[in-house]
Each structure stands twice: as structure tokens, then as C-alpha cells.
Amino acid sequence: MSHSETLILDGAAIRRALTRISHEILEKNKGTKDLVLLGIPTGGDYLAAELAAIIAGIEGVEVPYGVLDITLYRDDLSHKTIRPLRKTDLPFSPDDRRVVMVDEVLFTGRTIRAAMDAIMDLGRPRSIQLAVLIDRGHRELPIRPDYVGRNVPTSREEEVHVDFDSNHKPIGVRLIKP
């Protein structure tokens, strides 16, 4: 099978995008009051940790972050092979918080739909926002991100991969053409 790969973002570019997103989150929410980050595995949880670290560097405040496994809320259980579940780990209640969901690649929007259902089962946040590193288009639901690292026009057949090193630091985003 022949396919070509393009590096869309390198580690430094990802870092700059996450730094900008951090500033935008702080600006839109007027600081860190009631702010929590919720990463969607796999990848989104690592990015949530990165954003929390960057925000701590800017504001000097530790923003709580958690992991939200959405496998049980997916609408395609009977189509896909079962994958091992990740544990949902929220060190806080989402009640009355400003929840920022963090995902690596926004595609059809179905994952985000599932994530919103999952959050609603855990509590009643004041607001839910969405931060993604890559928006590749092809939405199937009326969902839009609040913070975007990079818009990448793709075809449906292409794949977008975010790579992490062994310390869960993002090191690159690749566009793979079939």
C-alpha cells in the first residue's frame, strides 16, 4: 500500500498553538475561576495536562484537569471492535464549573456529542467549551469548537495523527494520505 505523509505541525508549532489556546481560554473565561479541563482519551487527556501546565505558567494557578472516557456513550458500539475502556477520572465535580473539553482532532463531531452526554451524567456544568488541536472538517452534527490549534482541510479518506513521546508530550501532527 502506497501512502504519503506530511508533517503539519512539529513539536514547537504545537507548543505555540497550545500557548495561544491557553491565552484564549483565559481571555474568554476572564481568568481561571471555576475553570476545569477535561481531556478525551486517547490524546486529549495528554493535551489537557499540557494546557493546565501552560495556564499555570501564565496565571500561576493550577487548573484542575480530568480524564473523560466516552466509549460507553458512543453511538457506534455495534459497528466497531470493542476497545479496552479507560477509566473516567474526575478529581472534581463538574457542577457549576466552566468545563473545557480537550480533544486532539475534531472530525465528525460524534465523539464530542458523546462527551457532552457523559459530562451531563456526571453533573451540571455552568458551561461546556471545546478546545481541539486540529479541526479537519467533515462535521456530521451541529458542533463547533471554541478554540482551534490549526484548521486542516482534509478529504474523508485521509487520516490525521497526533504523536506523543513517552512522557506524553505532543511531538508532531501528521496528515496521512491513503
Binding site: 456513550y73 466497531k80 470493542i82 476497545r83 477509566k87 473516567t88 451524567d121
Partner: protein, 310 residues
């Protein structure tokens, strides 16, 4: 990693990888059981029939709660209130239920092999909730889950199972699952209650409870089934309690931190004394708690897409 079983008929068919996947999945479901809203939409629109031909409180309630927490529609049928009393055969009852298109049937039956029998004849998934003296896989899996939770592993543990081994589906399912996962299994009980040749399945057999207990990591007591065979195999319950009942003195022969398990319901004063059943080493109610998470994992895993192998 995929789970390729359409049915859960016994632990004998499960590989170490299957068992690990079930226990890992159950780990995630345990978190849901501690939430305020104990429900996820995963099996929404699926129908599960609990077909119980034998009395059961724990297992049936546990399955029903697991089904409801996954948003499946659960229907309970117990033999005493169904057309079984009118003389309908198992196969006819099952075919009629299947005509109503359930996705999963959870069955308990007094005949060994009943679950397997249905799995060969029906299209829906079958989960064995205990068939005669054959297997009770969900019980064994929740036992392993509880052991792993306390010890961090199964491999290398010494597990002593004491009681009426011949008639115990719990013992058999545990024996298969534990040996697959690399634990050492010891069985102990009166000679009349140990099936000849069972050591060929990879366990050690003892008639002395004291020897079987020495250095054990887990002590699993089985219920003497007073309503079944108990009487003809035992001279008296008092004698049984003396030789094979677990009390504080005998428990000291096991490891200091040994876990005391019992699948329930307990006959206090027969196979287990109250001071042990309620003592600091007992994990009996944890077994019950973990049962819901393990059964959620089984329902979830058999609902996924499967290859055609059973």
C-alpha cells in the same frame, strides 16, 4: 485487542487475555457504580431476558442491576411463575422467548450444559448464570476481580477452596479461571465431596482442611447445599462443621493477610463461623459489590461485534 466471544458459557473457554480484558473492563465500570447517576446509555435499545430456573437473589439482582445501569431493557422470568410449571421444555420456552427478539439471555438452570444447549440452538448471546454442577463463570470472574483488587495480581497466589467440590459450579469455574491465570489451586473437602480425578485439571487435592490452609493467600468457602445433596453425603452437619468449617483458629493457618471469600448464601455455623464471616479478613460483601461491575463488563463485551466463533 478484541473480545471474540458471543456467549459466556464458562471460564474454561476463556484465555488469560480474555479474562484480563474482562477484569480491566470491569475496573472501568466500577467507577460508574459510585456515581450519583449510576447509568450509562451503552446498551440502550437492547433487550436482556433473565431466565432463572433456580432460586437466586444475589445473582439475578446483580445481573438485573448491571443491565439497568447499562440502559438495557431487562425482563425477568422465574420458573416458578412461568409456563415451565405447565410442563414446557427448556427448548420450547427458549424458542418462544427468542421469537420476541431479545439480544441476550442470561440463564440459570439446574441441568449442567443448559446454557451451552441454548447457545447451540438460538441466535442471541447466552450468558451462563449457573448451570447445574457445571459452571458459574460470572461468580468466578468476580472472585478473581476481588483477589486482583486486593493482591494486585492473580499469578502465583495460592487459593484454597473448601467444601462440596463435586456439586459446586463455583469451584469448577474458579478452578479453570485461576489455573489459566497462573494461580495455584487447592481443593479440600470430605472424600465423598471430591470428584475422583479432579487433580488432572491442575489442582492439588486435600482431605485435611488444615493442610490445605497452610500458607494460603485466599480461602474460599463453599456453601453446603442443604436443600440438595448435603444430607446423603454427610454424617451430620455438626461433624462437617468440625472438620471443614472455617473458624478463627483454622484461619490462622493461612497467611496472616489471607482473604476470606464466600459466594453466598452463607450457612453460618456450618461452613463458616460468624467470627470469620464478619471478621477483618472477609471480603464477602466486596465480592457482591464487584459482581455488578463484572456482570456489566460481560454484558458489554458480548454485545460488541463478534466473529462467528462461540
Amino acid at each position: 485487542m478484541t473480545f471474540l466471544h458471543k456467549h459466556i458459557l464458562g471460564t474454561r473457554q476463556l484465555s488469560a487475555q480474555d479474562i484480563t480484558m474482562i477484569l480491566d473492563t470491569a475496573e472501568s465500570f466500577k467507577e460508574i457504580n459510585t456515581r450519583d447517576i449510576k447509568k450509562v446509555p451503552t446498551l440502550r435499545g437492547k433487550t436482556v431476558v433473565n431466565l432463572f430456573y433456580e432460586a437466586s437473589t444475589r445473582t439475578r439482582t446483580s445481573f438485573e442491576i448491571a443491565e439497568k445501569r447499562l440502559s438495557a431493557d431487562a425482563v425477568n422470568i422465574s420458573a416458578s411463575s412461568s409456563s415451565v410449571v405447565k410442563g414446557e421444555t427448556l427448548e420450547d420456552t427458549a424458542r418462544n422467548i427468542e421469537a420476541m427478539r431479545p439480544d441476550i439471555i442470561v440463564i440459570r438452570h439446574s441441568a449442567s450444559g443448559a446454557a451451552d444447549y441454548l447457545a447451540r440452538r438460538l441466535d442471541c448471546s447466552i450468558i451462563n448464570a449457573g448451570d447445574g454442577a457445571h459452571e458459574h463463570p460470572s461468580q468466578a470472574l468476580l472472585d478473581l476481580f476481588t483477589m486482583r483488587q486486593h493482591r494486585g495480581r492473580i499469578r502465583g497466589l495460592t487459593v484454597t477452596i473448601i467444601g462440596d467440590i463435586t456439586h459446586s459450579r463455583v469451584a469448577r469455574s474458579n478452578l479453570f479461571a485461576l489455573t489459566t491465570m497462573g494461580a495455584r489451586v487447592r481443593l479440600a473437602g470430605p472424600g465423598t465431596m471430591i470428584p475422583p480425578g479432579i487433580e488432572k485439571l491442575g489442582c492439588e487435592v486435600f482431605t485435611s482442611m488444615e493442610e490445605a490452609l497452610a500458607g494460603a493467600d485466599v480461602v474460599m468457602m463453599l456453601r453446603i447445599q442443604l436443600e440438595r445433596q448435603g444430607r446423603s453425603l454427610l454424617p451430620s452437619l455438626r461433624e462437617y462443621a468440625r472438620f471443614y468449617g472455617l473458624n478463627r483458629d483454622k484461619l490462622q493457618l493461612a497467611r496472616e493477610d489471607a482473604l476470606v471469600m464466600h459466594p453466598g448464601p452463607m450457612n453460618r455455623g456450618v461452613e463458616i463461623c460468624s467470627d470469620v464471616a464478619d471478621g477483618g479478613q472477609n471480603v464477602i460483601l466486596e465480592q457482591v459489590e464487584n459482581g455488578v461491575a463484572v456482570r456489566m463488563a460481560l454484558l458489554y463485551l458480548v454485545s460488541g461485534p463478534v466473529a462467528d466463533n462461540p
